[in-house]
């Protein structure tokens, strides 16, 4: 698997470059936003001397590139600075809030793939039929409204009028689960508390589905479109002429070649959920990175803003690398010939 290793190292290298660029950009933007971070942090009753002291401590009086130098030095030691909002290291804050968001996004991503791809296959296999038309209308609905609209609609229907699911939160208050990974679905299993696991799973269904809906629609439409094109290829006609079962042709011989062009976009959609999660989290009172992110932006908490954005960018890049590897894995042309690219 040498070509895979080469691909991986190349992608890791470019990702580090991108991350470096993002850090510079967000570092500069955060400092251009009007308002004095030290004044906001200390409040209106602080004396001018106190504000000046804090500005000095934060190196805010130095030129931006010198400040960036300090920041990079700290970053290399794994230190993102202290949040002026929570007075804790930014890394501690992120470690506390990120898992909830990641858990939500991962479950939504799983729904997108587990629901979207089979629907796309079904739709392509019976194209022109009733099932196809229903699936196409539903997937169009999914992509045409943003996830926070779906969040409100789903909450109204399935949590308010039909109280099947909880309205808010990650887990009922009666459970206290020791945080090991921060992922409640994992921690409850580690604790061996299956009732708590069920409760956490019950809580995540609606917000994850709301977040996933547009992705499901997109994945369905892409899979369908690419498969319909693949169905016209000679190798599908050949598979038919040999009497391979229609179901096997759909699920294997037409699906796999069609997945290659879909996968890049599905991966981007998946990563985009990190951004959409902010609004869905706000609606379902999900204690994730969104509340923290919004609070630190409003309070012009420089270190926390930069830290949050960097973590989200890094997650985005990691998802992209995983998608690239998946594509290489299913496309033998890439897997076997990295030299040519």
């Amino acid at each position: 698997m040498m070509p895979i290793a080469r691909l991986l190292s190349k992608r890791l290298g470019t990702s580090l470059l991108v991350l470096f660029g993002v850090s510079m950009l967000i570092f500069a933007i955060a400092r251009i936003i009007p308002g004095d971070p030290a004044r906001i942090a200390l409040g209106p009753n602080a004396t001018t001397e106190q504000v000046a002291a804090l500005r000095a401590a934060l190196h805010l009086d130095d030129p931006v590139w010198i400040q960036y130098g300090y920041f990079l030095g700290d970053l290399l030691r794994g230190d993102l600075g202290v949040s002026l909002y929570t007075n804790r290291p930014v890394t501690t804050d992120i470690a506390q809030f990120l898992p909830a968001t990641l858990e939500l996004v991962l479950v939504a991503g799983f729904m997108m793939v587990a629901i979207g791809l089979p629907l796309g296959i079904l739709s392509a296999r019976y194209r022109g039929g009733i099932a196809d038309n229903i699936v196409r209308i539903v997937s169009l609905l999914g992509v045409s409204a943003p996830s926070f609209v779906w969040a409100v609609i789903l909450m109204l229907i399935f949590a308010f009028y039909l109280p099947l699911f909880p309205v808010a939160g990650r887990i009922s208050d009666s459970y206290s689960i020791e945080a090991v990974t921060g992922f409640l679905l994992v921690d409850t299993l580690i604790a061996g508390n299956f009732r708590a696991f069920g409760n956490a799973a019950w809580h995540i269904v609606l917000p994850a589905f709301a977040l996933a809906l547009s992705g499901i629609g997109q994945a369905t439409r892409l899979t369908r479109a690419n498969m319909v094109e693949t169905y016209d290829r000679p190798y599908i006609e050949m598979a038919r002429s040999y009497g391979f079962p229609a179901r096997r042709i759909a699920n294997r011989y037409a699906f796999k070649p069609s997945l290659i062009p879909s996968l890049t976009i599905i991966g981007l959609d998946f990563a985009a959920m990190l951004g959409n999660a902010f609004l869905v989290e706000a609606i379902f009172a999900w204690p994730g990175l969104s509340r923290y992110g919004v609070a630190v932006i409003l309070r012009k908490d420089l270190n926390a803003i930069v830290g949050t954005v960097l973590i989200i960018s890094a997650t985005f890049l990691i998802v992209n690398i995983i998608v690239d590897l998946l594509i290489a894995f299913i496309n033998p042309r890439i897997r076997l010939s990295q030299r040519s690219s």
Binding site: R233, Y242, G243, L336
Partner: protein, 293 residues
């Protein structure tokens, strides 16, 4: 005369579209005896390929297709079979070879995997390892020496000629009674095409497989077929044993088709009579009156 393996009588085909019915075949009749090699020759759009698709039972399930006449395979009328029964014939008793071998093999599966799937049509319980042994055996028959490497390759890693051999091997793997060859190897260059055709001819002789050979290439047809049907715009215009037909082409269209082949000795691109009205002249059958339709 023994019962023909394939007997097509008055086959008509039309496609229903927005503008009404587009007729493609206007009642063609054709038969193939077991082990016989029969060519269907004509220009593009004359209805050669759709005829093969009907024999395979692949157009019957198309909603817009209107099929008339009868197609009997081994004495059984295809129209009276269920969809599943027609599918059961494909890949087991009837198989097909396509124009472009490289694009007819699935790009994301290894040759071995695709071979396994083909062999499972005949023996559903074939394990992968057994299938690979059998496949290697068949590949050696088409003069592929390093069968293991080929089975482990993806189609894009093999040459067109190699893929064509793989296609021939797959088509004959389940010992079909009838092989439909739809312009086999037209996408390959001529030397490779000649090699693989020669190979195919040897194998079908060995296995006593009947062949419906669809082509526009008269030279190839002359070398390959025992009997020739010439098709023009959905009608058979001339039919006869290969030598009789080539020695004495009687129908205006057949003559035009023969003069249309550029000569190696030069003389430019041949002039073809633009008067196509003569091409609609009635069927000329060299075997008429000899007890065969």
């Amino acid at each position: 005369m023994s019962r023909p393996l394939l007997d097509i009588r008055d086959l008509t085909l039309g496609f229903k579209g927005w503008t009404g019915l587009t007729e493609v075949l206007h009642g063609i009749s054709l038969n193939i005896q077991p082990g016989e090699r029969v060519a269907l020759v004509g220009e593009s759009g004359s209805g050669k390929s759709v005829t093969a698709r009907i024999v395979l039972g692949m157009l019957q399930s198309l909603r817009s297709a209107r099929i008339g006449g009868t197609v009997e395979f081994d004495g059984r009328n295809l129209a009276q079979m269920s969809r599943a029964e027609r599918q059961q014939l494909r890949g087991t008793r009837i198989s097909m070879i396509f124009q472009d071998p490289t694009s007819s093999l699935n790009p994301v599966y290894r040759i071995g995997t695709q071979f396994h799937e083909v062999l499972k049509r005949e023996v559903p319980g074939f394990s992968y390892q057994e299938a690979m042994n059998r496949a290697a055996e068949i590949l050696r028959e088409v003069s592929i020496v390093d069968a293991e490497r080929v089975l482990n390759s993806y189609p894009f890693q093999l040459s067109g000629g190699m893929n064509q051999r793989v296609m021939i091997a797959m088509a004959l793997a389940n010992e079909p009674d009838l092989l439909l060859a739809d312009e086999p190897g037209t996408a390959l260059d001529v030397t490779v095409q000649a090699q693989t055709l020669d190979l195919m001819r040897r194998l079908v002789e060995q296995h006593n497989t009947a062949v419906l050979f669809i082509s526009h290439n008269l030279g190839v047809v002359r070398e390959f077929a025992d009997r020739v049907y010439v098709i023009y715009k959905g009608r058979i215009v001339e039919h006869g044993p290969t030598t009789a037909l080539f020695d004495d082409p009687r129908h205006p269209y057949t003559r035009a088709l023969m003069t249309a082949v550029p000569r190696l000795t030069g003389g430019g691109v041949p002039d073809i009579d633009d008067d196509a009205s003569a091409f609609s002249a009635p069927l000329v059958d060299h075997l008429a009156g000899e007890g065969r339709p």
